[in-house]
């Protein structure tokens, strides 16, 4: 190895897969170059990455500088520029940009396709990736400026594959595995995610927004893609009618024939399954009862939290009248504090061609693009102008469902048209009845 890495080496032991070991094997593969690849970026990029990382482990600070503006022609996103602040010592990573490659829905792959990507990235980049980035993209970590267009050209021409988002645009949408392998899915997350991604390619590639914007698609309230925490619009599956009950299977759970929660708790002996304690008593809306060997749900009062279904998946199933809720404004803490999405649409059908959903999205965007300040996320705009305003611009009727509780301050900003007689009053007339 080019650089000594005594500190990093200590991260090779222990059971969890060691990224250091992986980087080292990659460094070796590149050095040996058994496939005779004509590397388009320095062959020792990985060794220098290890070197600069070791330096950070010694001095406790990063050695990467700001990005600067690099990218591919006509796109405003998809590339994050990066330069090393010790280029003399680590020339292999002096320029070390990342590219974001849009991942497929559900993150399903074939080995064949992944290998194609590997071939491309070995040739034109460091061969280091993130599978996947936090937003969901495939991340190619580390290449030089001239390679950006080349990678893009090969991706689009050879693989029919586009870049993902970065900058002030729509970011690459992401979904949970949903109905492709999950019995809880209330709509087809992959279909909706794909359709909207295609519909809004322009918004994804050509930044015209005040700031970044994210979509995420959870098939049900379990929230496996965490949309409620990290997307400006989250689409979370739900239903309006009854939970379907198979009473025989309920008995099977009670009788211990089926493991509660599909076996998720089998690492400890929690004792025999107790439907009263484990299901009925934990239902947040207190709408279940088990009497005379029968489980009953007062569906009208159910808040669809998924708990009972999670505990007894073979006995209880989501309802048939399905759709999704849309929540708006989730984001990380910068600048104004973190937000989770606030409920905008309690229920909407998810049916091709999704026109109703698109109308919501476009109304939201029109407002945000009109009113949002530079670097103001949707959530911050909602906070600044109020949820009432968001409902107004999306034409949604305000409803007690929109709030956890009504306002406790009575500071109501009445509008002039709401108050009979308007606001113009004649002070002289008033003074006739109220002397100074």
């Amino acid at each position: 190895m080019k650089h000594e890495t005594p500190l990093l080496n200590q991260l090779e032991s222990g059971p969890w897969p060691s990224f250091v070991s992986d980087l080292k094997q990659q460094a070796e593969v590149r050095a040996k170059n058994e496939e005779n690849i004509e590397f388009q970026i320095p062959v020792d990029a990985v060794e220098d990455l290890l070197g600069v990382l070791e330096l950070s482990y010694v001095d406790g600070t990063t050695h990467w500088k700001h990005g600067g503006i690099v990218g591919v022609f006509g796109y405003g996103g998809g590339v994050i520029g990066r330069y090393c602040d010790q280029p003399q010592n680590f020339p292999g990573v002096a320029h070390f940009h990342t590219m974001r490659v849009a991942q497929p829905g559900g993150k399903y792959y074939t080995a064949e396709y992944l290998r194609d990507l590997c071939d491309l990235w070995d040739l034109r980049g460091s061969g280091i990736t993130n599978m996947h980035g936090s937003t969901g993209d495939i991340i190619f970590i580390g290449t030089t400026t001239p390679q950006l267009e080349e990678v893009f050209y090969e991706l689009t021409h050879k693989f029919n594959q586009d870049l993902g988002g970065s900058g002030s645009n729509l970011r690459t949408p992401a979904d949970c595995i949903g109905s492709s392998r999950c019995e809880y899915a209330c709509y087809d997350t992959q279909a909706l995610c794909y359709d909207l991604t295609q519909e809004y390619q322009d918004e994804l590639h050509r930044p015209a927004f005040p700031y970044k914007f994210k979509f995420k698609f959870d098939g049900c309230p379990n929230g496996c893609v965490a949309s409620i925490a990290r997307s400006d619009l989250s689409f979370i599956g739900t239903w309006k009618d009854e939970i379907r009950i198979d009473q025989e299977a309920v008995q099977a759970y009670i009788g211990g024939e089926m493991p509660p929660n599909a076996g998720a708790h089998s690492g400890r002996d929690w004792g025999a399954f107790d439907i009263q304690k484990e299901v009925i008593a934990l239902c947040p809306s207190d709408c279940m009862k088990y009497e005379g060997g029968k489980l009953e749900i007062n569906n009208k009062e159910c808040v669809r939290c998924m708990h009972c279904i999670n505990v007894m998946p073979r006995a209880l199933r989501i309802g048939n009248d399905r759709g999704c809720s849309i929540l708006a404004g989730a984001k990380a803490p910068i600048l104004d504090g973190a937000q989770m999405g606030s409920l905008l649409i309690p229920f909407i059908k998810v049916e091709e061609p999704y026109d109703e959903i698109k109308e919501v999205i476009e109304n939201v965007w029109d407002w945000w693009m009109e009113e949002g300040k530079n670097r103001e996320r949707l959530g911050e705009l909602i906070k600044r102008q109020g949820l009432q305003k968001l409902l107004e611009v999306t034409g949604v009727t305000p409803d007690a469902r929109h709030v956890q509780e009504p306002r406790s301050n009575p500071y109501i900003f009445w509008k002039e048209e709401e108050v009979e007689g308007g606001w113009d009053r004649d002070i002289d007339e008033y003074r006739k009845h109220h002397q100074r």
Binding site: S21, P104, Y108, E149, S179, R181, I228, G267, G337, A338
Partner: protein, 381 residues
């Protein structure tokens, strides 16, 4: 090395240009049993840690073996994944939303060979390449960010803190003994690309020294008004500064108002924050995302600062362990860490986890801070 053209012509960038095609369509990659049974799944079961079966209406089954993915992975590693997928799964695989890898087979008989193959693959340093686990009421992979591998604002490393933590909690990656799933996340700065704000346990990199001012270059490299407006607390003002004999246009920072968020540095490279001693780790706890039983919750800051202790951050992993063990011992079945803390009261959380409560943990950020203080005589001695 010779430049190999892809066919792209920089003189005519628009020639043959293909754009706006989006990602590959998902269904090209579905394993046949998935394609056939999509939307028809009836139920699932976790057979053992890391191994799931999903059963479809018609009786079809898919067995999933989930393995730890370390996300920062090289093409060498990906090629190995591909090899496994081809050997056992007709060339199909997927990644989870927490960066694990899932190998699926359509028959129970194929599971054992797959497992054995995965279990035996190790790196020379001794770590597993494909540890099986991450399901049910255990600890799965840590969602994380770039850290010192690639970003300009981190206050700690991502991959290293994650490796150290996963080694420490590895037992629980391969077990399901906890009261409920426990999700750990990591973000290397306040931007929180790991969205750690709603995790059972969150590791966060944090600066504690206000930006240095590179007066000599500031006005040349940065747009001063942008730097000023970037600051959420309004701590930055324009200033004329005497610097090495010259008067230069620059900025002044009111250090008392700085909360070390690094926004200024993102807008202006002449205001670096990072510092060997100032930087370190904040631990948060009690967040969640699911709507199960209780509503989603934000994580709360439970340890204001721990130093960066490379390469294994022992104080950090020890503290995380304390929380996990206290939770494991005391919480009720199905109770997430935050639900537990709220039920017993945060004062008890600190007792039981043997953590010190310091003044830093009292919210003082803007108006909503008030709602986190205690407006009641209900508390525990």
């Amino acid at each position: 090395m010779a430049f190999i053209s892809s066919g792209y012509n920089p003189e005519k960038p628009m020639e043959n240009r293909i754009t706006d095609i989006g990602p590959k369509k998902y269904d090209q990659f579905y394993p046949p049993v998935i394609a056939k049974n999509k939307g028809k799944w009836l139920y699932h079961e976790i057979l053992e840690p890391g191994v799931l079966v999903h059963v479809a209406e018609g009786g079809d089954e898919v067995y999933t073996v989930r393995v730890g993915g370390c996300r920062l992975m090289t093409t060498t590693h990906i090629r190995e994944i591909c090899e496994i997928a081809e050997k056992h799964c007709d060339g199909h695989l997927r990644f989870t939303t927490r960066n694990n890898i899932e190998f699926m087979v359509d028959d129970k008989s194929k599971v054992d060979a797959l497992k054995k193959d995965l279990e035996t693959r190790k790196f020379p340093g001794g770590s597993f390449k494909f540890p099986i686990g991450g399901t049910g009421a255990g600890i799965t992979n840590i969602v994380h960010t770039q850290g010192w591998i690639h970003c300009h604002t981190p206050a700690t490393d991502a991959s290293g803190t994650v490796k150290a933590t996963m080694d420490e909690v590895f037992k629980d990656f391969q077990d399901m003994r906890l009261p409920a799933p426990l999700r750990i996340s990591m973000a290397c700065c306040l931007n929180m690309c790991g969205a750690v704000h709603c995790s059972d346990i969150a590791i966060l990199g944090y600066h504690r020294k206000p930006p240095m001012l590179d007066h000599e270059y500031l006005d040349k490299i940065c747009e001063i008004p942008l730097a000023i407006s970037s600051c959420p607390t309004g701590a930055i003002k324009p200033a004329k500064v005497e610097w090495k004999g010259e008067t230069v246009k620059s900025v002044a920072v009111n250090n008392e108002r700085c909360m070390f968020c690094g926004n200024c540095y993102t807008m202006c490279p002449s205001m670096p924050l990072s510092d060997q001693i100032g930087d370190g780790i904040v631990l948060m706890a009690g967040g969640k995302v699911s709507n199960r039983i209780s509503q989603p919750k934000f994580s709360k800051v439970v340890v204001a600062f721990l130093p960066n202790e490379m390469p294994r951050w022992p104080s950090m992993t020890k503290t995380i362990n304390q929380m996990i063990e206290a939770y494991s011992k005391d919480a009720r079945k199905y109770e997430r860490l935050g639900e537990w803390a709220e039920r017993i009261g945060w004062e008890r959380f600190f007792d039981k986890c043997e953590l010190e409560f310091t003044h830093h943990l009292i919210d003082d950020f803007r108006d909503p801070a008030y709602y986190t203080w205690r407006q009641s005589t209900q508390f525990k001695f």
